[in-house]
């Protein structure tokens, strides 16, 4: 039976082929059969996690909490120079210039990505806004959030910073960020499930030396990653503690 690998659904769709290339490279590097399964939504992926169908995952910080603390996953690595930050944006012509001008009844467009939603809801707190006095519409992709803003179907949109920056120039010209998180210490993690835990050191050393050969460098490039850094248990636990302080 091959091991199952998945990636948090908030990745840039332009990197789908990159993840398949990475999976092929990884199978050769650690001599294990691994099947890549990409889910369309966080809900679908979470069900697979709950059903113990995942053995290796590039997880968002929110899901990493459950995976490490409840499912016994082991942290392996994180991509360098990639932290998870969020942006709240408005239509470029919106009169809203900052968060504190927002009022009860604000219409929000968001994906189901839990970490982005949580960070953005925290950034609305200074305006006294929360889930009870705002109206939330959930979309399947960040481009649909942009469309909601362009059509004035939403007052504000929640974006993963990286995804916002990768919107087309034409789209970005019609939008305007009003606030951007600067947390710096929250990031996606590559985690191994209990059935692959014995391969942790092998996977980690393969990832850390990816830049040493042209094939590995090419794989990193296809994901827009510069390199990987090892993540040990305590670093992951610290990030999880931090997520825990935010989750209320």
């Amino acid at each position: 039976m091959p091991h199952n690998f998945t990636v948090s659904p908030d990745f840039n769709p332009g990197h789908i082929s990159g993840w398949y290339i990475f999976n092929t490279w990884l199978q050769r590097a650690i001599n294990e059969e691994i099947h890549l399964e990409l889910y369309n939504s966080s809900d679908e992926q979470r069900k697979a996690i709950a059903d113990d169908q995942i053995d290796l995952i590039y997880a968002n910080p929110y899901d990493a909490t459950v995976l490490v603390r409840d499912k016994g996953f082991t942290p392996i690595a994180r991509a360098d120079n990639k932290t998870d930050e969020a942006i709240i944006a408005v239509n470029h012509d919106s009169p809203i210039q900052n968060v504190e001008q927002l009022t009860a009844g604000t219409r929000i467009s968001s994906t189901g990505d839990p970490d982005v939603r949580m960070m953005c809801m925290i950034m609305l707190e200074p305006a006294g806004l929360d889930k009870d006095n705002t109206v939330m519409a959930q979309r399947d992709a960040y481009i649909l959030i942009a469309k909601d803003l362009l059509k004035n179907d939403a007052d504000i949109g929640f974006f993963l910073e990286e995804t916002y920056n990768e919107l087309s120039e034409i789209t970005k010209k019609q939008l305007r960020p009003i606030v951007q998180s600067q947390i710096h210490v929250i990031h996606h993690l590559l985690l191994a499930g209990p059935k692959l835990a014995h391969k942790k050191d092998e996977i980690q050393s393969s990832l850390l030396s990816m830049n040493d050969d042209p094939k590995g460098s090419g794989v990193l490039k296809s994901l827009s990653f510069e390199s990987w850094s090892a993540v040990e248990q305590e670093e992951a636990e610290f990030m999880i503690d931090l997520m825990d302080t935010l989750a209320d």
Partner: protein, 157 residues
């Protein structure tokens, strides 16, 4: 902890002396200058079991106005503002030492005598069933909540 010195203070100040349980004292100099936490920022720190700072992020350093090496190894109460009632901190420690999460609005004292308000959350770091330290995350608070907290803390002084 060192007393605050007049040459480090920006603007007019007044003095306050804290008396601690171990009979030590600290004189702080306070001004009415507020530095709001910028939108989108989170202040993060960790302490050991005794409340001694072991880790701070860049936002902590910038908002406190201290250098990192002036913070690491110091008790977290280096940021305590005299307007904060001791009852709030007693509640904090009682809560987190039980392993529960504590939330509250906190007025912190800067090295330059000014202050900043935050909404703080503190949790215990539990490793293999044991509490090994505490993580605190502070975020920007709404002005209306700050006003409520200010009024409440005056009654608790």
């Amino acid at each position: 902890m060192k007393n605050m010195m007049p040459d480090e203070i920006s603007g007019e100040y007044r003095e306050h002396t804290f008396k601690y349980h171990d009979n030590t004292e600290r004189t702080v100099l306070i001004t009415d200058i507020e530095t709001p936490l910028p939108e989108g920022r989170l202040i993060v720190s960790r302490t050991d079991l005794n409340g001694v700072i072991t880790e701070v992020n860049q936002s902590f350093i910038e908002m406190s106005a201290y250098h990192k090496d002036e913070l690491i190894g110091q008790p977290h109460c280096i940021l305590r503002h005299p307007d904060m009632p001791s009852a709030a901190f007693s509640d904090l420690w009682e809560t987190v030492k039980k392993g529960d999460k504590w939330h509250g609005y906190v007025k912190n004292l800067r090295k330059d005598g000014g202050f900043y308000w935050v909404y703080a959350t503190v949790i215990a770091n539990v490793r293999k069933g044991e509490i090994t330290g505490f993580t605190s995350v502070r975020r920007r608070a709404s002005r209306s909540k700050i006003c409520e907290a200010e009024a409440l803390y005056k009654t608790l002084q």
